[in-house]
């Protein structure tokens, strides 16, 4: 393509009746580059912080399978992506200087030929969202680890996932994924992330609690070395340490590693173990058996079962049944539909453990209830029910 000359530019200025003395000396002659119409470039509007991350050399990754809405992940955050249309034409121009730049750093020549790299009528908009982590647990539960004596690992045809594998299929940032792996007590076995089979996990926990009891160790000071020594013949040492890490708080005292056992978590797990065995239980019978089943020195409380079990106060006698929040849908509307399908009217106290995880940054449970539920009074108590007609 012929490049415009300064003479041609000046002639155009004259025809346009613009006074060159009122203009900065440098002109940009804009033309469309060879790739301009190809549509290979697109624009992404950056939320605060992302620009700085890019300039620092960090990556942003777009994640999503064909059937999922794509999300953008920075190192530690996840964003929904949405197309924003504009009626205007947006041209992206490399090497185009602003008046400020021209004034502070004047170019020697007075003509710059700038090629427009691309143009668009739309751009991607970002909105911070909750990382989509339900899939993580689902994938790891495809093949839970049930010990070295497991019959199945030889013939297992299920996928096992490394960190890299998870990064490529989970719509969340790396930090969010690693944090969630910790929350769900996943562990790395032979380079793969695994969740323990619940029965195996309880077997391991039982070894530890029995040992604590027989050695009369205080629950707040369980020595790692002694555990590994005593139990190392029964189970792999990594598994013993893993169960201590999952159910205790690690600390060092006089150079030795100890664990302060977590009463609430242990009671909760034993509660789950008991509740799994039937559809529902007589509440007072359950509470009695439960207290008897936990280690000496631990006290059971119903609030330890938040998000795990639900008490039915309307039945006579009162009953309790297993309801795990992690088994419920991840999408807000679907979650509420599911909860209202289980029970028509909920008090805020009962429903909170089952919707807490839906709260976006700075969003409250109250705000969620206002949006997705309708409130009314029942026997002097405020209850929430579905906004939709119940079929």
């Amino acid at each position: 393509a012929d490049m415009r000359s300064r003479a041609e530019v000046d002639a155009t200025l004259q025809t346009a009746k613009l006074n060159p003395e009122e203009l900065l000396p440098t002109v940009h002659c804009l033309s469309f580059g060879p790739q301009a119409g190809g549509g290979e470039c697109c624009l992404l509007q950056l939320e605060p912080g992302l620009c700085a991350e890019l300039e620092a050399g960090h990556s942003l990754v777009i994640r999503g399978e064909k059937d999922e809405h794509a999300v953008l992940c920075s190192k530690d955050k996840t964003y929904d992506m949405k197309i924003a249309d504009t009626s205007n034409m947006l041209l992206f121009v490399p090497g185009c200087k602003t008046p400020e730049e021209l004034n502070t750093d004047p170019v020697s020549c007075n003509i710059i030929h700038s090629q427009i790299a691309g143009f668009s009528h739309n751009y991607w908009e970002l909105r911070r969202c909750r990382p989509k982590l339900k899939k993580l647990r689902k994938l790891l539960l495809e093949d839970p680890y049930d010990g070295p004596d497991s019959q199945k690992d030889e013939t297992s045809t299920f996928s096992k996932y490394t960190t890299e594998d998870l990064l490529s299929v989970i719509q969340a940032s790396e930090e969010e994924i690693l944090h969630q792996l910790q929350v769900i007590d996943a562990c790395k076995i032979e380079g793969y992330w695994r969740i323990l089979d619940f029965d195996y996990e309880m077997k391991l926990l039982n070894h530890v609690t029995q040992l604590i009891d027989s050695e009369s160790w205080p629950l707040s000071k369980v020595p790692l070395c002694a555990c590994l020594e005593e139990l190392g013949s029964l189970e792999p040492r990594e598994m013993i340490e893993h169960i201590l890490v999952s159910y205790g708080r690690k600390y060092v005292d006089a150079g030795e590693v100890f664990f302060e056992m977590r009463e609430d978590k242990i009671c909760r797990a034993i509660g789950q173990m008991l509740l799994q065995n039937a559809v529902k239980f007589n509440l007072s019978e359950f509470e009695e058996v439960w207290q008897q089943s936990v280690p000496e020195g631990m006290t059971t409380r119903l609030d330890q079962l938040q998000g795990l079990a639900l008490v039915d106060k309307s039945s006579r006698p009162e009953t309790i049944f297993l309801l795990k929040v992690e088994d419920l849908p991840e999408d807000n509307q679907e979650r509420f539909n599911s909860l209202f399908g289980i029970r028509e009217k909920w008090t805020e106290v009962d429903i909170t453990p089952y919707i807490q995880d839906l709260c976006a940054e700075k969003q409250t449970v109250g705000a969620l209830l206002t949006k997705y539920a309708r409130s009314s009074m029942l026997n002097g108590v405020k209850v929430y029910n579905s906004r939709r007609p119940v079929s």
């Binding site: 393509a1 033309s31 119409g37 697109c42 942003l60 059937d67 794509a70 205007n88 121009v93 008046p99």
Partner: protein
Amino acid sequence: SGGTGALAQWVLVELQGEVEPRQSGTLAGSLLGDLHYTCEGVPVLIVGHHILYGKVVQLEKPFAVLVKRGGAPQPSSSGPHGHYTVTALIKTKLLFKTRPKPIITHVPKKV
């Protein structure tokens, strides 16, 4: 990904309506126009027979320019799929919103 080295800084030029090639065919390779700035820093764009006056806007939310590896990123309802490279950042735009002033080259004399 962000890539190594400093990211290029590009500028966004925002125009109302469409830009069509003078001759039929693709836009690639064809001229758009001359971009001047007044001494006060007002951008002036001469496109065809029109003068457009605009303003320099510092973007509150900068843009990243993404280039898809191996093919065009078709924005579909389910989102862009594939690998992208951040080619440049855009922190400034030249916004031309005023109605274009036509350049009158010949004024017929009144008889």
